[in-house]
Structures are given as C-alpha cells and as structure tokens.
C-alpha cells in the first residue's frame, strides 16, 4: 500500500491512472444511462427532475472529458512512452506522481458535489455542477446559479488543469530528451509522436481555460463583471476563451487514440505503417489547425458573415489531414496479413466510425448548415461518433494491445469479441438515431420533449443502444478483472510488434531495459529491407541499475490543492491558507529532497 502511495515508477503510475480513470469512466457511463433512461419516453420520461437531469448531463460531459478519456490516454502515456523511446522512466518521476494525485483528488472533489448538498444547506443531497460542461456565461453567474454547483465545477477544473499541465511539461521533455541513442524524431513510434503533439496542445490550451475559470471565479466570488452585461461585460468572451481551449481539447482527446491505432494496425497486418511521415505530419497539421477553428462552436451567436466564412473555411481544412490519416491506415491494411484480434477489430472500428463522425463534422463546418444542427441531438450524434467511435474505440484497441505488456496477462479474446460486437451494435443504435432526433427538431440538454415532435421512437432506439454499450462495458470490466486470476504467461512480444516496448519481459522489470538499446530503425524489432531486427537485450542487467526510491511529497503537495478549493467553496480563508501552506511545505520538501535519477 505504502509503496503505491509514494511510487514514482511510471508503470505503476500508469496503472493507477488506468484504474482511476476506468472508475470515473464507469461513473460517467452510469450518468449517461440515467439520462438515456429518462429520455425513453416523451412528456416527463421516467420522472427524473429537471435539476437532476441538468446535473447529470453536466457531470457526464465533464467526467468523460476530464476524468475518463484524457486520463485513460494518460495511462498509456505513462506506461508505454518511456518503453517506446527506450528510457528508464519519465524525465520527472515525482512530477509524474504529482500529476496523478492531483487528477485523482480533483476528480474526487468534483464528484463529492453529488453528496455535498447538506453541507451547504441545500434542500437536496446533490449540488453537482449543472450549467453544462461548457459552462456558458452568464448562466454561470451568481445571479442565475446561486448554489455551490458551479463553484465545484470551476474549482474542480482548475485543479484538473494543474494535473494536465504538469503532465504536459513532463511528457514533452521525456519524449524530446529521454530517447535512447539512435531514436531520432522520425523514428519515434507514431503513438509517441501523437502524444508529443497532444502535450503541446495541452500546455497551450489549458492556460486559456485557466484564465477563463479565474475570471469566472472573480465574477462569482468577488463581484466583478467579466462576463456580465450588467457591468458592461460580455458573455460571448467566455465562449471565445472556452472554445479556444475547447477545440484544441477535442484534438487532445482524439490524437492519442489515432496514435494507438497507428501502432495496432501495422502489428496486426504485419506491415509497416503506410506513409509514416505523412501520418506524423498530418497529426502536427491537425494540431495547428485545431487552434484556428474555435469559433465554429459559435456560429449561432451572430459573429457576422466574415468571421463565419473564415471559421467555416479553416474548419473544412481540417478534414484534409484527417482524411489523409484514414487513407494511410487503410493503406496499411492493404496488402497485409491481417490477424483479427480484438485489438485490431477495435482499431478498424475506430476507422469505420470516425469516418461517420468526420463527415457529419463537415455538415456543421458549413456555418449556415450548422445553424439547423448546433445545440441539437445531431451534434450529440457527431461528438459521440468522434469521441466514442473514435477515442474510446481507439483506447479499447490500446487496452487489448498493451494489457499483456502492462500485466503479463492476456485479456480473453472470446470475451473481447463479444465486447467488440456489442459495443459496435450498441453505439450505432445509440448514436445513429440521434442524427434524426436532432434534424427533426430535438434540442440537446432537455430533460423532456413533447410526444408531438415525433422523436420518441428514435429516443427509444438510442436508449436501448446505450444500455447495450453499458452491458458491453461490464463484460469488458469482467474481462479486466478476471486477468488477475489468470496465469502471467504473456511473452515479451506476444503480437509480434515492432516497437521497443516489446523488447523486454511482460510486465517489464522496474528498471525497464536491462541495457539501454541503440536504435537503428523505425521498426527496431522487425526485419526490414535495410535493417536486421535488434539484438535481444540480455536477460539480466550487466551491472546493478539504480532505481530511485519513492517520495511522499508529490502526494502531499497535491493534497493541498483540494484543501484550497474546499476553503474557497466554503468561503473560509483559514482553510485556503492551510491548503496553501501544505502546498508550499510540500514544494520545499520536494525541492530539497535527495532524489537521484
């Protein structure tokens, strides 16, 4: 127990990230199921109140984005990146532990709002955030959201932002600076490349949302008018700041999954990735363009025809590098010897579903066309094809692929196939009809709809589909759990992968590589035209390898942050100061702690 609390081993932190994020994924999924259950019938549904419903969809969005998808990607960054680049750990192991603890505590803080009502004298148990994951001003002002709900949200997101930023700096340096000899930039595995791009987006996008949240905090706590028309402020400024973060955030969510399937497809077709450089550069281009499209979330706010045209144009441009990636993935499969493992199925599922999400994306890149779609279920369909059909299927592909490496144990392929097909059927049943509900006039974020709209049938299908996804996810959960009792018999390279993480035992020893390898090719473990496979590493290290011990200070420093937030929430300055003191002491002890790498 203690060794996990103080661990700075990237592999253990990766597993902590994985299980924590998976737990939040289940919570976010449960919220989605209640939402879908409520909408199965028109005119009042199953009786979920408007207030509860608003909390559920707000927390579903917030949880999935910040507590499930980003940290599930982070689980792989942590576990896999150092292995892929031939390093013994990340550049800053303690900072890495700090990121994890901040993420965990931020997630718990946010979810504590579900039971914190009595502490704030509310007449209900739950005071969870209820202004949407996008928290549009001026609904979030004290006047229109007097309770602690929005405070939980804005403080929780600030905490989580610190975790993401710390991890961002860490992985940028790790990838740029910790590469094994010979591991040039254009020999990096694509997953590592996409992680690098993602982290650059993280460290540039998160400061923007931080500023937005700080300004909102000033509005709510100190009475400023940054977003309030009453004092000359403009609610639209919030939307600009939020989406300047929010759109890069979309690529923060999707690029790692694109990286994962760029690993999975070559391995299971036994062919190198088609157009490696093009795939890498298109990822970089997507990230750059991702910064220039934020206002396409705001076409209905009346930006004027010039701005509408510009943002419609930049948004359409993103379709090009995205399309290029898809063609290269198909090119990878073409001519291969495809083994239909569960991992490959999920990777193919990603391509098939992401195309749909991408194409519906083009229909709302066209600003006037978007006017009929924005804020309707059509957009709900789009984001779920992209983030479920894309990110989550990609993450599942990664889980089946790397689970033997991470635990030494195989996930059941039989259960995996059931999981895959149920997920595919469920997601299409859940999300495809939403295109129709939306175009037939059903707005998003409504807890009830009149029977006269004629969309009840579509909603029933969506609800059935959502529950199928729920069942599929439970099967997967069982598949994960049962590996604990399975023999640890995974070989070093069970799938015949080409990258360095397959060069050492499964799971790897605490020091990773017995000898730091020298890399001569993009596919070090494969025979290529010019390169023989890398010589196997010695089974035992030739000399003892120093592994740094753990540290308490990352966790203790992290602990100070929710204390500050609780103090702010309760308007108790002494608690804020106490939390700040914990952070300061933590940082000092951390800075002066002997910690050898």
């Amino acid at each position: 127990m203690k060794s996990w609390l103080i661990t700075t081993d990237h592999k253990r932190i990766g597993l902590l990230y994985f299980w924590t994020a998976f737990g939040f994924f289940l919570i976010g999924g449960l919220e989605a199921l209640i939402i879908r259950a409520q909408l199965i019938r028109p005119d009042g549904g199953l009786g979920v109140s408007a207030e509860t419903f608003n909390q559920l969809f707000t927390m579903h969005g917030t949880t999935m984005v910040f507590l499930a998808l980003m940290p599930l990607s982070a689980a792989f960054f942590n576990y896999i990146i150092p292995l892929q680049i031939g390093a013994r750990d990340v550049a800053f192991p303690r900072l890495n532990a700090f990121s994890y603890w901040v993420f965990l505590l931020g997630g718990l803080f946010l979810n504590a709002s579900f039971i914190a009502g009595p502490l704030f004298g509310a007449d209900r148990l739950s005071v969870a955030p209820d202004a949407g994951w996008f928290g549009y001003a001026n609904l979030t002002s004290r006047q229109f959201s007097p309770g602690p709900n929005v405070d939980f949200w804005l403080l929780g997101l600030q905490i989580l932002g610190i975790a993401s930023l710390a991890a961002g700096f860490n992985f940028i340096v790790t990838i740029l600076n910790m590469r094994a000899p010979g591991m040039r930039m254009l020999r990096l595995p694509v997953f590592t490349w996409m992680t690098l791009v993602t982290q650059f987006l993280v460290i540039t996008a998160f400061p923007v949302i931080t500023v937005a949240l700080v300004l909102l905090m000033f509005d709510r706590f100190f009475g400023t008018h940054f977003f309030l028309p009453a004092g000359g402020g403009d609610p639209i400024l919030w939307q600009h700041l939020f989406w300047m973060f929010g759109h890069p955030e979309v690529y923060i969510l999707i690029l790692p999954a694109m990286g994962i399937i760029s690993e999975v497809l070559p391995t299971f077709s036994r062919k190198p990735l088609f157009g490696y450089t093009v795939v890498v550069y298109s990822g970089v281009v997507i990230a750059f363009l991702g910064w220039s499209v934020w206002s396409h979330h705001m076409f209905s706010t009346g930006l004027g025809p010039i701005a509408d045209s510009v943002f419609a144009g930049t948004t359409m441009l993103i379709a090009i590098p995205t399309g290029v990636k898809i063609f290269n993935w198909i090119g990878t499969l073409w001519g291969g010897q495809i083994r239909f493992t569960t991992s490959l199925l999920f990777a193919v599922g990603f391509i098939a579903m992401f195309i749909i999400g991408g194409l519906s994306g083009v229909t709302h890149a066209s600003a006037p066309s978007d006017l009929q779609q924005t804020d309707t279920y059509y957009v709900v369909a789009h984001i779920h094809y992209v983030l479920f059909g894309g990110t989550i299927l990609g993450l599942f592909a990664g889980m089946y692929y790397w689970w033997p490496k991470m635990t030494g144990r195989f996930l059941s392929e039989g259960l995996g196939k059931v999981h895959f097909w149920l997920t595919m059927i469920g997601m299409n049943l859940a999300f495809f009809p939403m295109h129709f509900s939306g175009l037939l006039g059903m707005p998003r974020r409504i807890y009830t709809y009149p029977a006269e709209l004629g969309v009840a049938r579509f909603n029933q299908l969506s609800t059935i589909g959502a529950f199928l996804i729920g069942i599929a996810t439970l099967i997967f959960f069982w598949n994960l759990l049962r590996t604990r009792w399975r023999p640890a018999n995974a070989p070093a390279n069970p799938w015949g992968g080409a990258t360095l993480e397959w060069a050492m035992s499964s799971p790897p020893p605490v020091y990773n590589f017995t000898v730091i390898p020298t890399v001569a090719s993009r596919l070090p473990l494969w025979q290529t035209e010019r390169h023989a496979p890398m010589v196997a590493l010695p089974a035992e290290p030739p000399a003892p390898i120093h592994v740094p011990g753990g540290s308490w200070w990352p966790m203790i420093t992290a602990l100070g942050l929710p204390i500050i937030a609780i103090g702010a929430l309760a308007h108790l300055i002494p608690i804020v100061l106490a939390g700040a003191a914990v952070v300061i002491v933590g940082i000092y002890r951390w800075a002066f702690e002997p910690f050898e790498m």
Partner: protein, 337 residues
C-alpha cells in the same frame, strides 16, 4: 393544434427515406428541418442536402475500401510475409487533393449561403424584437406598437426582420421550419431575416441551455394571411375586455386585483407588473406557460395553483386561492381575448 403541421415530404428530401424506413410510418414532425417553409430555412436545407450527398459518396468509397482491405488481406496460414510497403508519394498527393477538391464544392455554396442569410431584411420588412426570458418569449412589434408572448404572429409572404436580445441568460431562437437558430444575448442584438411562404402554425423552442426549464421554453409561430394578421393586430391594440357586471369574470377581475398576480403581470388599466408576460389578451392565446400547455381552464387551474411543479424553476409561486376565487379568476383570464 397541429393546423400547420405538414406530412413528411419524402420525395423532396433524401434522408427522409431512411426516416420513413426507421419509423415505419409517416409521422408528423412539427420541428423538422426537412420541411422548410421560408426562404431562410429553404436555403439551409438546400445547403445541407448538397453536403449530405458528398458525404454519402465519400462514406461509400472509404468504407468500401476498408471492407475490401479486410476481406482480401485476411491472414492465411503459410502465406508469405507481406511486402513491407512504406508509402507511395503519388497516392499521398492524390488523397490529399481529392478531399480538398470536394471541399471546394462545399465551401463555395457555404460562403454564398453565409452572405445570403446574414440577417438583413429588405426595406419595408416587418420588424419584430424577440426578447428571451427564463423561460418564455416576449415579442415586440415596434412599428405596430403591440406585443405578443410565446406565440409569434406573422403575416405570410412579408419579409420579417427579427432583432433579438435577452433579458437574462443566453437563449436561442429556433423555429426549424422557418429559420434560426440565433442566440439571444443580453447586451447584444442579433438579427435574422426570413419570409414565411405558407400560412400555418410552426413550432420552435429555445435551443441554448438556459437553466432548469430549458426544455420547457417552447414557442409557436402563427403565419397568417394578411387579413387574419390584421385582425389579430387590431385585437392586440384594443383595450382589454371589461367583464360584464355580475359575471363570474367580473368577480375574477376582483380576485386578480387583490391577489399577488398584479406584482408581476400587466393587464392594461388593471395592473402593471413587469416580471411575467402581459396578460391583457391572454384569453386569445392557444397556449400558456411558454407554449407548454394548451390554454384551457384545466391547465390554467393547475398552473396557477402550482406553477413550479409544472415548470421547474418557474418564478411564479404557488397561489393559495379558494376554488371559488380560482374559478372566477380563470373565467376572467379566459375572457381577455
């Protein structure tokens, strides 16, 4: 109720076929974007249609390639190792240019539509100001000097200049078959312009999440012939009906005068509350509570007794009136045509 609702027109719009197939019956869809009845919404539907077909073509090509690859290159026992192809420059250029070219065909009509729907009506258009409230709609006709609530009356074939703003949080005006959506933002004025091409009743609702009763912020647009519209305008301009001596409505007027109603509602000559909708002509409306319920004695009864129970977050507190007073009050309200 659904006077204006039109049966789904399957021929005009392709995705309709799928809808038809899925629902196995031709239902009525009062908020469908597939049955536009104004120049604005027709423009948007046409644009979507064009993009939709491009999307279908791309979808078919790419998914087929994917399926062919999976079917043809399934691993076979004893097969030779695949050729390690690393890429193909001509292909890369090809599949970069092809989507770019398609996007040109989408971008050009998009830009055209952006400027065509920029929201400026021609000279002589009827001006309507839409003001969003949590959770109801106020419409002002500055040139006609009248107002309406939740039900927007418009003359058919006349260009309409809609100017919108909000009294509180952000709302979004959306009547799929006529136009929108456009956000209502406090401190800003947004514009749309359209001309309804057939009479009827069109449904809409707020599309931007605006708090507890976002789902309950609905509206109707009644597009009327010129003469019907003029009659309605005259009705709105007239003073509220004075109840006959000794009628239940007159008793109801007394109840209204001494109840909490006057704090929030206006009835010309009786009360001047500004927080809720003006009730001077409430009896003439088809719906109440943000177009949420039909305007009947029964719904009025329930609404006045406990509005927040019917519409979460509604500001109107439950009224503690005797049955007798309540019946009289409802009679009065219904008389205010």
């Amino acid at each position: 109720m659904l006077r204006g609702a039109v049966y789904f027109d399957a021929v005009r719009f392709a995705p309709a076929l799928l809808v038809l197939f899925l629902t196995a019956c031709s239902g009525q869809f009062p908020q469908s974007v597939f049955a536009p009845r104004s120049d604005f919404s027709t423009e948007l539907a046409g644009l979507f249609k064009g993009i939709f077909w491009w999307a279908v073509v791309v979808f078919a090509i790419v998914e087929s390639l994917l399926l062919i690859a999976l079917a043809r290159y399934r691993a076979r026992r004893g097969a030779a190792e695949p050729k390690p192809v690393h890429g193909h420059t001509a292909l890369e250029i090809g599949w970069t240019l092809a989507p770019a070219l398609i996007l040109v065909f989408i971008a050009v009509p998009t830009m055209r539509a952006i400027f065509a729907t920029a929201g400026h009506a021609p000279e002589g258009a009827l001006r309507v100001e839409v003001i969003g409230h949590q959770w109801w709609w106020e419409y002002r006709y500055p040139t006609l000097n009248i107002s309406a609530y939740n039900e927007l009356h418009l003359p058919v074939g006349t260009p309409i200049q809609v100017e919108m703003t909000s009294a509180d949080v952000i709302h979004s005006f959306w009547v799929p078959r006529l136009g929108g959506k456009r956000d209502l933002i406090q401190g800003r004025t947004n514009r749309i312009a359209f001309r309804a091409d057939s009479t009827g009743e069109y449904w809409g609702q707020c599309a931007e999440f605006c708090g507890a009763s976002h789902a309950n912020m609905r509206l109707r647009v009644l597009v009327q012939s010129d003469s019907m519209f003029q009659r309605w305008v005259d009705q709105q301009r007239a003073a509220p009906v004075t109840p006959a001596k000794g009628s239940p409505a007159e008793a109801g007027q007394q109840v209204f005068r001494r109840s909490a109603c006057i704090g929030c509602h206006t009835i010309a000559g009786i009360a001047q509350g500004k927080i809720g909708p003006d009730l001077s002509h409430v009896g003439g409306r088809a719906t109440i509570a943000g177009a949420l319920f039909p305007n009947t004695g029964e719904t009025l009864h329930r609404w006045i007794m406990n509005a927040p129970a019917l519409k979460p977050g509604a500001l109107m507190p439950p009224q503690n009136l005797s049955t007798q007073d309540l019946d009289a009050l409802i009679a009065y309200l219904q008389s205010l045509k």
